[in-house]
Amino acid sequence: MKKLALSLAALALAAVPAVSHAQTASATVTASATVQASLTATTTHQLKFGTLAMGASSTLASSGGSQAALSGLATAGLGQVQVSHNSNVTVTTTAPAVLTNASSGNTLAFSATCATAATSGGSGTSVSCASFSFNAATPGTSQSTYVLVGGTVTGSAAAGVGTFTGDIDFTFTASN
């Protein structure tokens, strides 16, 4: 029985947790950063239909086999916006339906066409002016994409003579 008592005592001591032990706990916090895109847009050429006969219409194609050249200081031609970007870009456009003579208030019907090109005045790929996008070949690497703008102005003898203008507004948004 003495052996039994000592055995019980030993068992009890063995069951007591060690007074020196370790507890482990962990947690995770998040580190975050946003690298902003580089995006600039510059109008390099205005869309110019040049001088038209009264009532005559004109079309400047922004893509395809009959793609027009870029405008010059005194020559008709396509408009162009150079976009420098290092990420994908989405574009929305607001184009007027008419060109307006600021003096008389008369208008000529107008419809715009758009295209993108890899080089200035290069072969255009047709896109819908209202909404389109282009990608960065290598995200993070700055590159240029060229937006070509052409269109058709419809002549109207009733509109009389004068200079008819309108603004085409592009909004470029960097996306990832």
């Binding site: 007074v19 370790a22 507890q23 580190a31 975050s32 690298v35």
Partner: protein
């Protein structure tokens, strides 16, 4: 005729041993266990905000709005270690390098006002006295976007592991 109760073969001294042993079973864990418990509470992440390609950004461990903050609640002798990501990641393979300097870690003890500066790339050990209100660990770091860093949202996890060693009381 009197009858003996209990274990008749045991003498008085042996009974005392046995009772003490059984009592220790009933009492259970020693008080040191409760004193040595520390909880780890993530309070704030490391916030670099908006960065530009090619421009490194440093967050000081003293920058209250951007540093990482971890609360240690409890008391005991602790060893704190960190799994530090070498870079933050965005979609795809884009990586934004991170660097942790030798003074980017800080521990403050609200009870005493003591401050401990440490290198988060190595474990740091300290004691949180009982009743001191715990300790707060702060982390700073540097983000180093390359000149051709792809734009986007980058994230990464910093895991904090706390080992609490309880000396005999």
């Amino acid at each position: 005729m009197a009858k003996r109760l209990g274990v008749p073969a045991l003498r008085r001294g042996e009974k005392a041993w046995l009772l003490a042993a059984l009592a220790s079973l009933i009492v259970g864990p020693c008080p040191a266990l409760a004193q040595g418990t520390v909880s780890v509470l993530p309070v704030q992440g490391l916030r670099f905000g908006v960065l530009s390609s090619g421009i490194p950004t440093v967050i000081s461990p003293l920058d209250g709005s951007r540093r990482a903050t971890i609360e240690l609640v409890g008391a005991g002798q602790v060893s704190v270690s960190f799994e530090l990501p070498p870079a933050l990641r965005a979609g795809g393979d884009a990586a934004l390098p991170l660097r942790f300097g030798p003074a980017d870690g800080r521990v403050t003890f609200p009870g005493s006002g003591r401050v401990l500066v440490f290198d988060p790339s190595r474990p740091v050990s300290f004691t949180i006295p009982p009743g001191s209100g715990g300790a707060t660990v702060y982390l700073g770091a540097s983000a180093e976007p390359g000149t051709r860093q792809p734009p986007g949202a980058y994230t990464g996890g910093i895991t904090v592991t706390v080992v609490v060693a309880n000396p005999a009381t």
